[in-house]
Symmetry: C2
Subunit: 354 residues, 2 copies
């Protein structure tokens, strides 16, 4: 491992217990029955621990949406042609995609990153170009990338989120775009969670039963060819990953190292989280699961990581749409903690004397 990655992992510290105790004490004095705001209370307290502030604040918000192509599309694992990855990047930049609408609603800026799209996207002022290569290699024939590329992609993710932090960033959501990336992600889930491939493989953009069986067999072949070591997350990422998945690993690590909470999106971001938490177990406390995706396998992945999603609306689009909705919930939790009056301030009677 290189210095940047190693140092970033070392920077990820346990949550600030003192800030959390103060936030909990304040929650218990606010004008409501104790605990009656349920998970919003828990979220506000963990947020205090992450930001190291008794009154955490969410003002500057960003979704980092990373795009990459996958050599495994040669095995015909999906319904959409590979050029859609590049077309959707242009759609993000033009503001016409779902993530633009949802991020607009939430007040988050969208950072679009080319981590490895298999097309020359040209020089676009709004596009962050961190292209590692023009798509990964076909993982059924060997590793999807070299280990050097995997580290380079993670470090690109660290640098992207560090640049955003310099501009002001109180919370970040992850997002992805990449034709073929549910195949790569399902392979990562199978290895990292030790589940059968068919239990973690879903229909992606809408496969038939026959297409799904083919996708499962492709993933099984990729795992057999590569023999990834589940105890070595970098090995798993190298052999089965994608450049956008590796980049998101870096975003998660880099944000946590700077005490910035991360809301993860659905199935693809979950694959990145499985790798990132294995690299830095303390990271888990910095992550919120934005939503539960309808993509089969996401539920198992969240359970494996012990994460309870904030939203569950049968979405399965990616791009960061689920993390953007999750950011809204986290921001609401912070606002309640900051703005509500205490029993004393409001002159409201607490419980009756016994």
């Amino acid at each position: 491992m290189s210095d940047l990655l190693q140092n970033t992992i070392k920077m990820i510290q346990p949550l600030d217990k003192e800030a959390m105790a103060k936030a909990q004490a304040r929650q218990d004095m606010l004008t409501k029955p104790q605990g009656s705001l349920g998970r919003l209370e828990e979220v506000s307290i963990r947020l205090a621990g992450i930001q190291e502030k008794a009154l955490p604040r969410i003002e500057q918000k960003a979704i980092i949406t990373m795009a990459g192509d996958h050599g495994v599309v040669a095995e015909k694992v999906g319904n959409f042609p590979q050029e859609v990855t590049a077309q959707m990047v242009f759609n993000f930049l033009a503001g016409g995609a779902a993530i633009n609408a949802v991020a607009g609603q939430v007040g988050a800026r969208v950072i679009v990153v080319d981590m490895g799209v298999a097309a020359d996207l040209g020089d676009k002022p709004q596009l962050v170009s961190r292209k590692i290569a023009a798509g990964t290699k076909n993982m059924t024939q060997g590793p999807a990338m070299t280990q050097e590329q995997a580290v380079e992609a993670i470090e690109a993710g660290i640098e992207v989120v560090t640049d955003e932090a310099a501009k002001g960033l109180d919370i970040v959501g992850t997002g992805d775009m990449g034709i073929g990336n549910t195949t790569s992600s399902a392979a990562i889930y199978a290895v990292m969670t030790r589940q059968a491939v068919h239990d973690v493989t879903g229909r992606g953009t809408g496969l038939t039963d026959e297409q799904l069986a083919h996708k499962v067999s492709v993933i099984q072949r990729a795992i057999k060819t590569n023999c990834p070591d589940p105890k070595n997350p970098l090995d798993v990422l190298t052999k089965l990953g994608g450049f956008e998945i590796a980049g998101l690993v870096g975003v998660m690590l880099g944000a946590a190292a700077r005490h910035i909470p991360v809301v993860i999106d659905g199935f693809i971001s979950g694959a990145a989280a499985l790798i990132a938490i294995a690299l830095a177990p303390e990271l888990k406390n910095y992550l919120f699961a934005g939503h539960r995706s309808a993509e089969a396998g996401h539920r198992l992945g969240l359970e494996y990581m012990g994460m309870n999603p904030l939203i569950d609306l049968d979405m399965r689009l990616g791009e960061g749409t689920g993390s953007a909705l999750g950011i809204f919930i986290v921001e609401t939790a912070a606002r309640i903690l900051a703005e509500m009056a205490t029993f004393g301030e409001a002159g409201v009677s607490d419980k009756e004397e016994e």
Copy 2:
């Protein structure tokens, strides 16, 4: 029934199928795999049917939070003293309650209505005073109110939402405040859904096992004393209801009559919805369940009404906090439908040719 109530019920029409078909057709052309935004797509289409617009819009938002007191508190069914109802009304008006924070986050105005608080709240410019009486009577000894009062309270709710509609209102959320109102509501759930009282009765603001058993016995006594007729929703409301619950029945009916979608809050709003849907079955299509409350019985009530909640965060506060979060989801759904580009507009390839 009086003219206003009868006419309002008659005004609630089936959804606009043409607007819904147009919204569905547009959803299917947007740059995403069909159906990949899950329930957000369904919400946008139903919204089109409610607002009678192919491109529904949510700009003007309000939470109507109705307060009332309950004579049944004489039976010692809760932990907080009755004066908390009035104190919390003042807290709403001062902006210090949870609903103020959540509504602020969502951009909704909060309309606070005194439907029957057992205290003189004085003349407050921001308070809508529609007091029917200073609290209901103790339902263990006879009807909570007269049938005339029940109709008067429903009609007050119709008038309150009609006044708001005149100011501009694209969506409304319901909210409640009333010490003792989980007891009244559980009684309504038991009768309307034909469930055993102990299955629909919860711990409210935080009862012990012993207190919960006492609350169940109080509700059983109230039902035995009054013999409410489950086929006559106005009879159930009269005998077991609260003035704020009756007012919320009116808000739901009045909004639907004006093609305004209603996001209902948790357990108390659910009791109002059970009554309102029984009065006007077509109303159901105009309602979105904002969230699933942690209060026992809410799940059963939602299942009885066939409603799938938008949010599930173990909240059990009321005030409209769950409906405000639900409004955010509905607004997001509308925004996606309006703002996303189609495949043609964005130059993105649809599925590969077979």
